[in-house]
Symmetry: C2
Subunit: 117 residues, 2 copies
Amino acid sequence: MGASKTEHFTEYQNQIALLAKAMGHPARIAILEFLLKSKSCICGDIVNELPLAQPTISQHLKELKNAGLIKGNIEGNAICYCINEEGFEKIKTFFETLTSKSNSNLSSECNPNETCC
Amino acid sequence: MGASKTEHFTEYQNQIALLAKAMGHPARIAILEFLLKSKSCICGDIVNELPLAQPTISQHLKELKNAGLIKGNIEGNAICYCINEEGFEKIKTFFETLTSKSNSNLSSECNPNETCC
DNA sequence: TTTATATATCGTAATATTGCAATATTAAAA
DNA sequence: TTTTAATATTGCAATATTACGATATATAAA
C-alpha cells in the first residue's frame, strides 16, 4: 500500500507523527540545528551549509515549513528562514507529557517470576 | 534516489533523525502511548488495541525496537513489550537542548526594516 | 501428540521519499 | 532592459515505507 491509514488514528497521534516524520531525516535535523545555532533568521545561503544540491534542500525546507517547524518569508531576493516556536512547542510538550508518564519503575509492575524487559 | 545520504551528516544528526523517523507514524505513536499509559510491560495483545492487521503491527513493533524506543522479551507464549527508557532519554535530551537554544527572542535579531518571519 | 494461540517472516502491491538535473520564477543589480 | 543571483518547481530514477495475505514458528493447552 504505502499510504498510512491516518483515518484510524486520533488528530493528536497524526499531528505528533507528522512533526516527528518531518524531523526524521538528518538533513532536516541539520537545518534545524543551524537555524537554532544562529539564533536569528537566516536570509539566504542555507544551501552552502549542507552537502546536498539546491533543489534537494529546497524540498527539505518545504517539508519543515509544511510541518510547522520553520517559517519562511520573502526578503527581496532571498528567503528568510527561522524556527517556528509554535511547532516546536507542540512536539516539546508531547515529549514532556510522555516522559513524565514514563518515570515510574516499570519493571516492578511486571511478573516478578520472569526477567521482564 | 530514495536513500538518505547519511554519510554526509554527523552521528548525532543521524541518531536523532532515526529516533524521530521511528516516531513518524501514527500507529507507532499509538503503540508508545499505549505502553506508557499502562505503566508496565504489555505481555501480548497490542494487536487488539490497534486498527491494523497483525503482521503490520508486528512490523511497527520491530521498527520501534530497532530504533531503541521499546524493548521486547519472550514470555512463554507471548511477548512482553515495554518502553526503552534509554532511547526516550536520548530524544528527550535532544529536545531540551534544542528548545533551550530557541528561547531567545529571534525577531529582535532580524533586520528591523523588514517583517522577518 | 494434536490443537489452539501469539507472534514473526515472506512476498508483494501500492504509494512515498530522496536526490538531482533541467528549468522556471522572481527580484536586485548593472 | 538585460543580466545576475537566489530560490522554487518539474520530471524522473532509485529506493524506502506501508499494509496485508499466506505461511512459518514456537509455546501452551487439551
